[in-house]
Symmetry: C2
Subunit: 151 residues, 2 copies
Amino acid sequence: MEYEQLKLDNQLCFRLYTAARLTIGAYHPYLDPLGITYPQYLVLLVLWEQDKQPVNDIAHKLFLETNTVTPLLQRMEKAGLVKRTKGKEDTRQRIVSLTKKGIEMREQAKHIPDCLSDEIIQITGEEEEFVRMIPSLDKLIEGLKRTTYNK
Amino acid sequence: MEYEQLKLDNQLCFRLYTAARLTIGAYHPYLDPLGITYPQYLVLLVLWEQDKQPVNDIAHKLFLETNTVTPLLQRMEKAGLVKRTKGKEDTRQRIVSLTKKGIEMREQAKHIPDCLSDEIIQITGEEEEFVRMIPSLDKLIEGLKRTTYNK
DNA sequence: TACTTTTGCATCGTGAACGATATAAATATG
DNA sequence: CATATTTATATCGTTCACGATGCAAAAGTA
Protein backbone atom coordinates (compact mmCIF):
# COMPACT_ATOMS: atom_id res chain seq x y z
CA MET A 1 0.00 0.00 0.00
CA GLU A 2 1.37 3.35 -1.01
CA TYR A 3 0.08 5.16 2.06
CA GLU A 4 0.68 2.39 4.58
CA GLN A 5 3.15 4.50 6.52
CA LEU A 6 0.53 7.18 7.11
CA LYS A 7 -1.54 4.88 9.30
CA LEU A 8 -1.96 5.98 12.87
CA ASP A 9 -1.09 2.48 14.02
CA ASN A 10 2.42 2.82 12.72
CA GLN A 11 3.34 5.96 14.58
CA LEU A 12 5.62 6.10 17.60
CA CYS A 13 5.05 9.78 18.24
CA PHE A 14 1.31 9.39 18.52
CA ARG A 15 1.83 6.80 21.24
CA LEU A 16 4.21 8.98 23.18
CA TYR A 17 1.83 11.90 22.90
CA THR A 18 -1.15 9.81 24.00
CA ALA A 19 0.68 7.92 26.75
CA ALA A 20 1.97 11.19 28.16
CA ARG A 21 -1.48 12.78 28.21
CA LEU A 22 -3.17 9.79 29.79
CA THR A 23 -0.41 9.32 32.35
CA ILE A 24 -0.61 12.96 33.33
CA GLY A 25 -4.32 12.35 33.68
CA ALA A 26 -3.53 9.63 36.21
CA TYR A 27 -1.86 12.26 38.38
CA HIS A 28 -5.06 14.28 38.66
CA PRO A 29 -6.52 12.50 41.71
CA TYR A 30 -3.29 13.23 43.56
CA LEU A 31 -2.55 16.74 42.31
CA ASP A 32 -6.06 18.18 42.39
CA PRO A 33 -6.27 18.00 46.19
CA LEU A 34 -2.99 19.92 46.33
CA GLY A 35 -4.33 22.50 43.93
CA ILE A 36 -1.50 22.11 41.44
CA THR A 37 -1.12 20.96 37.84
CA TYR A 38 1.35 18.44 36.50
CA PRO A 39 3.79 21.04 35.09
CA GLN A 40 3.63 22.86 38.41
CA TYR A 41 4.39 19.58 40.17
CA LEU A 42 7.44 19.21 37.95
CA VAL A 43 8.64 22.67 38.95
CA LEU A 44 8.20 21.72 42.59
CA LEU A 45 10.20 18.50 42.06
CA VAL A 46 13.03 20.60 40.67
CA LEU A 47 12.91 23.04 43.57
CA TRP A 48 12.57 20.32 46.20
CA GLU A 49 15.81 18.86 44.92
CA GLN A 50 17.46 22.25 45.06
CA ASP A 51 15.87 25.45 46.25
CA LYS A 52 16.67 28.91 44.88
CA GLN A 53 17.29 28.52 41.19
CA PRO A 54 17.10 30.97 38.32
CA VAL A 55 14.29 30.57 35.81
CA ASN A 56 16.68 29.35 33.18
CA ASP A 57 17.93 26.41 35.25
CA ILE A 58 14.41 25.27 35.95
CA ALA A 59 13.44 25.55 32.30
CA HIS A 60 16.55 23.66 31.26
CA LYS A 61 15.93 20.78 33.63
CA LEU A 62 12.39 20.42 32.36
CA PHE A 63 13.40 20.82 28.69
CA LEU A 64 11.02 23.76 28.45
CA GLU A 65 11.42 27.28 27.08
CA THR A 66 11.58 30.16 29.51
CA ASN A 67 8.52 31.66 27.88
CA THR A 68 6.64 28.60 29.08
CA VAL A 69 8.16 28.56 32.52
CA THR A 70 7.84 32.25 33.32
CA PRO A 71 4.03 32.34 33.26
CA LEU A 72 3.99 28.99 35.05
CA LEU A 73 6.08 30.48 37.85
CA GLN A 74 3.93 33.61 37.93
CA ARG A 75 0.86 31.46 38.52
CA MET A 76 2.71 29.50 41.18
CA GLU A 77 3.75 32.72 42.86
CA LYS A 78 0.16 33.91 42.83
CA ALA A 79 -0.79 30.59 44.43
CA GLY A 80 1.79 31.22 47.15
CA LEU A 81 4.03 28.28 46.30
CA VAL A 82 7.16 30.16 45.21
CA LYS A 83 8.79 33.55 45.49
CA ARG A 84 10.69 35.25 42.66
CA THR A 85 13.47 37.62 43.68
CA LYS A 86 16.02 39.53 41.67
CA GLY A 87 19.46 37.91 41.47
CA LYS A 88 22.21 39.59 43.43
CA GLU A 89 25.23 38.88 41.23
CA ASP A 90 23.34 38.95 37.95
CA THR A 91 20.39 41.27 38.27
CA ARG A 92 18.87 39.95 35.07
CA GLN A 93 18.20 36.66 36.79
CA ARG A 94 15.08 35.87 38.75
CA ILE A 95 15.82 33.49 41.57
CA VAL A 96 12.90 31.21 42.31
CA SER A 97 12.59 29.94 45.85
CA LEU A 98 10.03 27.90 47.72
CA THR A 99 7.68 29.50 50.21
CA LYS A 100 6.69 27.82 53.44
CA LYS A 101 3.66 26.46 51.62
CA GLY A 102 5.82 25.16 48.80
CA ILE A 103 8.18 23.45 51.21
CA GLU A 104 5.37 21.88 53.18
CA MET A 105 3.73 20.50 50.09
CA ARG A 106 6.67 18.15 49.73
CA GLU A 107 5.42 16.12 52.65
CA GLN A 108 1.94 15.86 51.17
CA ALA A 109 3.37 14.85 47.79
CA LYS A 110 5.98 12.35 48.83
CA HIS A 111 3.75 9.33 48.35
CA ILE A 112 2.63 10.28 44.84
CA PRO A 113 5.35 8.43 42.90
CA ASP A 114 4.63 5.21 44.77
CA CYS A 115 0.91 5.62 44.21
CA LEU A 116 1.45 6.12 40.52
CA SER A 117 3.78 3.14 40.26
CA ASP A 118 1.27 0.94 42.04
CA GLU A 119 -1.48 2.19 39.82
CA ILE A 120 0.43 1.44 36.65
CA ILE A 121 1.28 -2.03 37.89
CA GLN A 122 -2.31 -2.68 38.85
CA ILE A 123 -3.63 -1.41 35.55
CA THR A 124 -1.17 -3.12 33.26
CA GLY A 125 0.01 -5.99 35.40
CA GLU A 126 3.55 -5.02 34.55
CA GLU A 127 6.37 -2.97 35.90
CA GLU A 128 9.65 -4.19 34.44
CA GLU A 129 8.36 -3.46 30.99
CA PHE A 130 8.09 0.23 31.79
CA VAL A 131 11.28 0.39 33.78
CA ARG A 132 13.00 -0.99 30.71
CA MET A 133 11.49 1.78 28.61
CA ILE A 134 13.20 4.53 30.58
CA PRO A 135 16.70 4.26 29.11
CA SER A 136 15.24 4.23 25.61
CA LEU A 137 13.21 7.33 26.33
CA ASP A 138 16.30 9.00 27.74
CA LYS A 139 18.22 8.19 24.59
CA LEU A 140 15.45 9.61 22.46
CA ILE A 141 15.21 12.78 24.55
CA GLU A 142 18.96 13.22 24.59
CA GLY A 143 19.10 12.86 20.83
CA LEU A 144 16.20 15.14 20.07
CA LYS A 145 17.19 17.97 22.35
CA ARG A 146 20.30 18.66 20.27
CA THR A 147 18.37 19.07 17.06
CA THR A 148 17.51 22.34 15.42
CA TYR A 149 14.05 22.50 16.93
CA ASN A 150 15.35 22.74 20.44
CA LYS A 151 18.49 24.67 21.23
CA MET B 1 16.65 9.18 51.31
CA GLU B 2 13.14 9.73 52.43
CA TYR B 3 12.28 11.79 49.39
CA GLU B 4 14.19 9.74 46.85
CA GLN B 5 10.97 8.88 45.06
CA LEU B 6 10.31 12.54 44.42
CA LYS B 7 13.37 12.87 42.23
CA LEU B 8 12.66 13.77 38.69
CA ASP B 9 14.88 10.98 37.48
CA ASN B 10 12.55 8.41 38.90
CA GLN B 11 9.63 9.44 36.82
CA LEU B 12 8.35 7.64 33.79
CA CYS B 13 5.69 10.23 33.14
CA PHE B 14 8.19 13.05 32.83
CA ARG B 15 10.04 11.12 30.15
CA LEU B 16 6.90 10.40 28.20
CA TYR B 17 5.86 14.02 28.45
CA THR B 18 9.29 15.27 27.35
CA ALA B 19 9.81 12.68 24.63
CA ALA B 20 6.39 13.46 23.20
CA ARG B 21 7.04 17.20 23.11
CA LEU B 22 10.46 16.87 21.55
CA THR B 23 9.31 14.31 19.01
CA ILE B 24 6.43 16.55 18.00
CA GLY B 25 9.06 19.25 17.63
CA ALA B 26 10.85 17.03 15.15
CA TYR B 27 7.75 17.10 12.95
CA HIS B 28 7.91 20.88 12.61
CA PRO B 29 10.21 21.02 9.57
CA TYR B 30 7.79 18.75 7.74
CA LEU B 31 4.48 20.15 8.94
CA ASP B 32 5.28 23.87 8.79
CA PRO B 33 5.59 23.86 4.98
CA LEU B 34 2.14 22.25 4.85
CA GLY B 35 0.78 24.88 7.21
CA ILE B 36 -0.54 22.35 9.72
CA THR B 37 0.16 21.48 13.35
CA TYR B 38 0.82 18.03 14.77
CA PRO B 39 -2.71 17.53 16.15
CA GLN B 40 -4.08 18.65 12.80
CA TYR B 41 -1.79 16.11 11.12
CA LEU B 42 -3.27 13.43 13.36
CA VAL B 43 -6.78 14.39 12.32
CA LEU B 44 -5.72 14.14 8.69
CA LEU B 45 -4.22 10.69 9.31
CA VAL B 46 -7.57 9.57 10.67
CA LEU B 47 -9.49 11.02 7.74
CA TRP B 48 -7.06 9.72 5.14
CA GLU B 49 -7.69 6.25 6.48
CA GLN B 50 -11.43 6.80 6.30
CA ASP B 51 -13.15 9.91 5.04
CA LYS B 52 -16.45 11.25 6.37
CA GLN B 53 -16.49 10.58 10.08
CA PRO B 54 -18.44 12.17 12.92
CA VAL B 55 -16.53 14.29 15.41
CA ASN B 56 -16.90 11.66 18.07
CA ASP B 57 -15.19 8.94 16.05
CA ILE B 58 -12.23 11.17 15.33
CA ALA B 59 -11.94 12.19 18.97
CA HIS B 60 -12.16 8.58 20.07
CA LYS B 61 -9.42 7.40 17.72
CA LEU B 62 -7.12 10.14 18.97
CA PHE B 63 -8.04 9.60 22.64
CA LEU B 64 -9.11 13.24 22.81
CA GLU B 65 -12.24 14.92 24.12
CA THR B 66 -14.68 16.40 21.66
CA ASN B 67 -14.20 19.81 23.23
CA THR B 68 -10.59 19.60 22.06
CA VAL B 69 -11.41 18.27 18.62
CA THR B 70 -14.26 20.62 17.78
CA PRO B 71 -12.18 23.81 17.78
CA LEU B 72 -9.38 21.91 16.04
CA LEU B 73 -11.76 20.99 13.24
CA GLN B 74 -13.10 24.52 13.09
CA ARG B 75 -9.59 25.80 12.49
CA MET B 76 -9.02 23.12 9.88
CA GLU B 77 -12.26 24.06 8.18
CA LYS B 78 -11.20 27.70 8.12
CA ALA B 79 -7.91 26.56 6.59
CA GLY B 80 -9.87 24.74 3.88
CA LEU B 81 -8.74 21.23 4.82
CA VAL B 82 -12.06 19.76 5.90
CA LYS B 83 -15.78 20.33 5.58
CA ARG B 84 -18.29 19.80 8.40
CA THR B 85 -21.82 18.84 7.40
CA LYS B 86 -24.85 17.87 9.43
CA GLY B 87 -25.46 14.13 9.69
CA LYS B 88 -28.44 12.79 7.75
CA GLU B 89 -29.55 9.95 10.00
CA ASP B 90 -28.54 11.58 13.26
CA THR B 91 -28.74 15.34 12.89
CA ARG B 92 -26.81 15.89 16.09
CA GLN B 93 -23.72 14.53 14.39
CA ARG B 94 -21.30 16.61 12.40
CA ILE B 95 -19.76 14.58 9.61
CA VAL B 96 -16.23 15.68 8.86
CA SER B 97 -14.99 15.15 5.33
CA LEU B 98 -11.83 16.07 3.47
CA THR B 99 -11.80 18.86 0.93
CA LYS B 100 -9.82 18.65 -2.29
CA LYS B 101 -6.99 20.41 -0.48
CA GLY B 102 -7.17 17.94 2.39
CA ILE B 103 -7.09 14.98 0.04
CA GLU B 104 -4.19 16.36 -1.95
CA MET B 105 -2.14 16.97 1.16
CA ARG B 106 -1.86 13.22 1.61
CA GLU B 107 0.52 13.05 -1.32
CA GLN B 108 2.73 15.78 0.15
CA ALA B 109 2.69 14.10 3.55
CA LYS B 110 3.29 10.51 2.56
CA HIS B 111 7.05 10.67 3.04
CA ILE B 112 6.87 12.20 6.54
CA PRO B 113 6.84 8.94 8.53
CA ASP B 114 9.94 7.70 6.71
CA CYS B 115 11.69 11.03 7.21
CA LEU B 116 10.99 10.89 10.92
CA SER B 117 12.19 7.29 11.19
CA ASP B 118 15.39 8.15 9.40
CA GLU B 119 15.89 11.14 11.62
CA ILE B 120 15.46 9.14 14.80
CA ILE B 121 17.87 6.52 13.54
CA GLN B 122 20.39 9.15 12.62
CA ILE B 123 20.04 10.94 15.94
CA THR B 124 20.02 7.93 18.23
CA GLY B 125 21.72 5.31 16.08
CA GLU B 126 18.85 3.01 16.91
CA GLU B 127 15.49 2.00 15.61
CA GLU B 128 14.62 -1.43 16.97
CA GLU B 129 14.78 -0.06 20.46
CA PHE B 130 11.90 2.29 19.73
CA VAL B 131 9.93 -0.20 17.70
CA ARG B 132 10.12 -2.48 20.70
CA MET B 133 8.67 0.28 22.87
CA ILE B 134 5.43 0.39 20.89
CA PRO B 135 3.65 -2.64 22.42
CA SER B 136 4.51 -1.39 25.90
CA LEU B 137 3.11 2.03 25.13
CA ASP B 138 -0.02 0.44 23.73
CA LYS B 139 -0.45 -1.57 26.89
CA LEU B 140 -0.05 1.54 28.99
CA ILE B 141 -2.50 3.52 26.88
CA GLU B 142 -5.01 0.70 26.87
CA GLY B 143 -4.78 0.41 30.63
CA LEU B 144 -5.01 4.11 31.35
CA LYS B 145 -7.89 4.88 29.07
CA ARG B 146 -10.23 2.71 31.15
CA THR B 147 -9.45 4.56 34.36
CA THR B 148 -11.63 7.15 35.96
CA TYR B 149 -9.79 10.04 34.42
CA ASN B 150 -10.70 9.09 30.93
CA LYS B 151 -14.03 7.50 30.28
C1' DT C 1 -47.56 9.61 23.65
C1' DA C 2 -45.49 12.53 27.44
C1' DC C 3 -41.47 12.72 30.02
C1' DT C 4 -36.81 11.61 31.43
C1' DT C 5 -32.25 10.39 30.27
C1' DT C 6 -28.59 10.00 27.25
C1' DT C 7 -25.84 11.41 23.48
C1' DG C 8 -23.27 14.53 20.17
C1' DC C 9 -21.48 18.60 19.72
C1' DA C 10 -20.45 23.34 21.02
C1' DT C 11 -19.00 27.18 24.14
C1' DC C 12 -16.35 29.09 27.92
C1' DG C 13 -12.53 29.60 31.04
C1' DT C 14 -7.89 28.25 32.53
C1' DG C 15 -3.40 26.56 31.98
C1' DA C 16 0.11 25.09 29.35
C1' DA C 17 3.58 25.13 25.04
C1' DC C 18 6.01 27.77 21.93
C1' DG C 19 7.39 31.07 18.04
C1' DA C 20 8.26 35.89 17.68
C1' DT C 21 9.49 39.89 19.74
C1' DA C 22 10.92 43.17 23.46
C1' DT C 23 13.95 44.91 27.14
C1' DA C 24 17.44 45.48 30.25
C1' DA C 25 21.67 43.90 32.04
C1' DA C 26 25.97 41.58 31.33
C1' DT C 27 29.72 40.61 28.29
C1' DA C 28 32.62 40.99 24.30
C1' DT C 29 34.90 43.81 20.97
C1' DG C 30 36.95 47.68 18.61
C1' DC D 1 35.75 53.41 27.18
C1' DA D 2 32.07 53.32 23.65
C1' DT D 3 29.55 50.23 21.05
C1' DA D 4 27.95 45.74 19.53
C1' DT D 5 26.48 41.30 20.93
C1' DT D 6 24.80 38.00 23.91
C1' DT D 7 22.06 36.55 27.74
C1' DA D 8 18.05 36.25 31.12
C1' DT D 9 13.63 37.03 31.41
C1' DA D 10 9.18 38.77 30.04
C1' DT D 11 5.22 39.78 26.86
C1' DC D 12 2.13 38.66 23.08
C1' DG D 13 -0.48 35.80 19.95
C1' DT D 14 -1.98 31.22 18.50
C1' DT D 15 -3.03 26.51 19.27
C1' DC D 16 -3.91 22.86 21.97
C1' DA D 17 -6.03 20.11 26.20
C1' DC D 18 -9.61 19.68 29.22
C1' DG D 19 -13.13 20.46 33.09
C1' DA D 20 -17.60 22.56 33.42
C1' DT D 21 -21.63 23.77 31.33
C1' DG D 22 -25.23 24.35 27.70
C1' DC D 23 -28.40 22.75 24.18
C1' DA D 24 -30.84 20.21 20.95
C1' DA D 25 -31.76 15.75 19.10
C1' DA D 26 -32.19 10.90 19.87
C1' DA D 27 -33.30 7.04 22.75
C1' DG D 28 -35.36 4.99 26.63
C1' DT D 29 -39.33 4.68 29.84
C1' DA D 30 -43.73 5.19 32.15
